[in-house]
Symmetry: C2
Subunit: 404 residues, 2 copies
Amino acid sequence: EICPDRMLARLAELGRIGALEGGGVCRLALTEADKSGRDWLVAGMRALGLTVSIDGIGNIWGIRPGTGDGAPVMVGSHIDTVATGGLYDGALGVLAGMEIIAALNTSEARTQRPVAVAAFTNEEGARFAPDMMGSGVHQGALDLDEMLAVTATDGRGVVKEDLDRIGYRGDAAPITPAAFLELHIEQGPVLEQDGVRIGAVTGVQGIHWTEFTVHGQTNHAGTTPMALRRDAGQVAMRIAREADAIAADNGPPQVATVGVFEVSPGLVNVVPDHARLTVDLRNTDGAVLEAATRRLTGFAEAAAAEAGCTLTHRPLARFAPVAFDAGLVDKVEAAARSRQLSVKRMPSGAGHDAQMFAPNCPTAMIFIPSHKGLSHNVKEHSDEADIIAGTQVLLDLVCDLAGV
Amino acid sequence: EICPDRMLARLAELGRIGALEGGGVCRLALTEADKSGRDWLVAGMRALGLTVSIDGIGNIWGIRPGTGDGAPVMVGSHIDTVATGGLYDGALGVLAGMEIIAALNTSEARTQRPVAVAAFTNEEGARFAPDMMGSGVHQGALDLDEMLAVTATDGRGVVKEDLDRIGYRGDAAPITPAAFLELHIEQGPVLEQDGVRIGAVTGVQGIHWTEFTVHGQTNHAGTTPMALRRDAGQVAMRIAREADAIAADNGPPQVATVGVFEVSPGLVNVVPDHARLTVDLRNTDGAVLEAATRRLTGFAEAAAAEAGCTLTHRPLARFAPVAFDAGLVDKVEAAARSRQLSVKRMPSGAGHDAQMFAPNCPTAMIFIPSHKGLSHNVKEHSDEADIIAGTQVLLDLVCDLAGV
Ligand SMILES: NC(=O)NCCC(=O)O
Ligand SMILES: NC(=O)NCCC(=O)O
C-alpha cells in the first residue's frame, strides 16, 4: 500500500525546486533548476536503494532488482517543466514511481521482474524542440547526435553543452523494459467535467510543430504606401490566423497554437523586416494532421510571395498518433475498477514519454483529473485524493506486471 | 554659397557615430551613441561661433547673432535615429543648418535677424513615445514633466534619468522663432518616381499611435480545446490584421503599421496569456484618421471580449494633420525654381519637428528624393547632388527670411 503523506511530501519538496513567486515552477530542461531537481531525485533514488543509470541524453533511471533476471517493468515521466509550469506535469509520474519503490521496500515485497523508475530529459520541448527528446532518443525514435546538437528555441544554449555543464551526459546503454507505465495529470478538462477519477489512456494524438521565418524589408511607417511594403510581420500574422482557421475548419479534436511570435526590429514606426513564429498542430487522425500541416505551409508560402517576402519553415517536431497496448489499457481500466474508482477510456491531448515506448513494448498511461483543465499554467492543480488514487492504481499494475 | 565637400564631410562624420556593421546607424534617443552625436554637434556649433543653449528636454540650439534683435530664423531637425536607421533622416536638416552658418561665416555675411540651428530630442519616438518629443515640448504641444516621466517602449529607461545620465537636461527657456525651416529626405518614393528634385511640403499627415495589451490565460497547446482557450496572442493577431484591413478599406493615403508585437510566455506548446502590440495609423484627413482609430479600438475590445481576454489600450501619440504656412511654401517653390530645380508640392508621410512649430510661427519644409523610397532602413540613401541642392535652397530661404 502506498503512503499518502510520503507521496505528497515528495511532490511538495520537488515543487520547491525552481518555484516561482506566487506559485508554479520554472524548471526548464537543462537549466540550473533542472540540475537541482535531478540531484535531488538521484539522491532520493539512492536512498531507496536503487541502482542509478544515466544515458547519453541525460535520462535518469533507478532499478530495484527482481528475483528473476528479466527486463524490468518501468514507470516514469519527466521533471522538466515549461517556464510557467505547475507542480504535477511530469513530476507526478516520476514521484509516483519513487513512492511505489518505497511501498515495495516498506512491505519488503519481492518482485519477479526488476522495477525501474525513470525521469526523461526535456519532455516539454519548451527550451529545446522537439518534445519527448529524452524518451525519443532512449527508444530510438530520435537520433542521439542530432539531439545533442539542438540549439535552444531562444538561441541560448545547445543540448550537449548544457548536459555537460549540469553534469548529466552519461553513458549507460538504453533499455527496453518488459512494459512501460506512466501516471500523469490529464492537463485537460475531460475527467473533471465528466466527474471521473481515472483515465485509461488509449493513445496520444499526433503532434506537428513547425517554425516559420519571414524576411521582408524595413521601411518607414508613415511614408511607405501599403502597396510598396514587404512587411514580414503582417505575413507572419496571416500565418498565425490561418493556423486558427485550420482548427476552426477541421473542428475538434484539431487544435492549433501559435506560442512563439517575434517581430524585429520591433519599433512603432518601422515596418518589420523579420518575423518568426511557431505553430503547434495536433489531431488524433494522422492523415488529417498531415493535411493540416500541408495546408499551413502552402498558405505560408503563398502569403510570403504575395507580400514580396521570403519564407523558410522547418519541422521542430513530427510525431504521428500513437495507440497504446490494448491489453494493458484493459488492465488499467480493471485496476481502477477493483479500487472502486470510476474510469473512462480517453485519448491524450498532450505528448508523453510513454508514446516513445509504445512501438517497442506494452505501454499504457493513467490520467487523473486536472482542476479546470489548466496545465502549462502556474495554477495547474490536482486533488490529493486523485493523486493518491492514481498512484495506488499504478502500484497495483506494477505488482501485477512485475509479479509480486 | 554652400560648400559641397564640407557639407558631405559633416554628414559622413556624424554617420560614423553609432554606425552599424554593414551600413546604417543606430543612434536611438538618449543612448550613449546619441550622447556622442550631441557632443560632436555642440563642439561643431561652438567652433562655428554659435551660442549654444539646451532646454529641459535636451533640445540643443546654437544662435548666430543678427544685426537687429528680432526673433531668429530657425532651421533644424534631429540627430536621433531608429535602431536600423540611415545617415540622412534628421541628420541632413541639422547639418544643412551647420553648413548655412559656415557659409554665412565664410562670406562674412551679416543678417538682420539672428539665425539658429537646432537639434531636437527624440524625434523618432523609437525608444520613447511619442515622436517629435523635443520639438513638441519646445513649442508647448507636449508637457515637459509628462515627457520627462515617459518610460522606454521596451521598459528600459526613463526620459529624465537618461537625459541626466548623458548630461543633456538643460534649463534654457524655449524660443519661438520668426520662422522655422526644415530640410529633410522625403523617406518615401514620390519625388524619385516623378523625377522631381525638390518637394515643397504642404503639411504633415495625422499620426495616431496606440498600444494594445491583451491578457488571457496560459494553457496546454495539446489538451485545451479551441473553445476553452483565452488566447491573448490570437486576439492580438486579430487586432494587427484589422489594422491592415483598415488601410485596405480606407485606401491611400491611409497607412497602418504594426511595428511592435510581443507574446509571452513565448513557448511552442503554451497558449500565450499576454500580448502587446502597437499600431501606427496615419491619414492626411483628420476625421478619417479619428474614425480609423475608433474602428480599431472598438474592434480590439470586441475581439478581446469574444476570446474571454481583457484588453487595455492607450494612445502613445496623437498628432492631428498639420498645414504649413502657405506663403512660406510658395517661397520654397520659388527658391527651388530660381535655382533651376524641378519642384512639386506634396504632403509629408512622416512626422517632423517642423510640424510642432507650424501653429506658432511661419513654418515650411524642403524635401529631397530618397532612393527607392527607403527610410528607417540601413540602406536609406539620397544623392549628393540632391543633398547639395536642398541645402542651397535652404540657404537661399534663410538669407531671404533673415535679411542679408
Ligand atoms: N505532457 C506535456 O505537457 N508534454 C509536453 C509536450 C506537449 O504535449 O507539448
Ligand atoms: N521623419 C521621421 O522619420 N520621423 C519619425 C516620426 C514618424 O514619422 O514616425
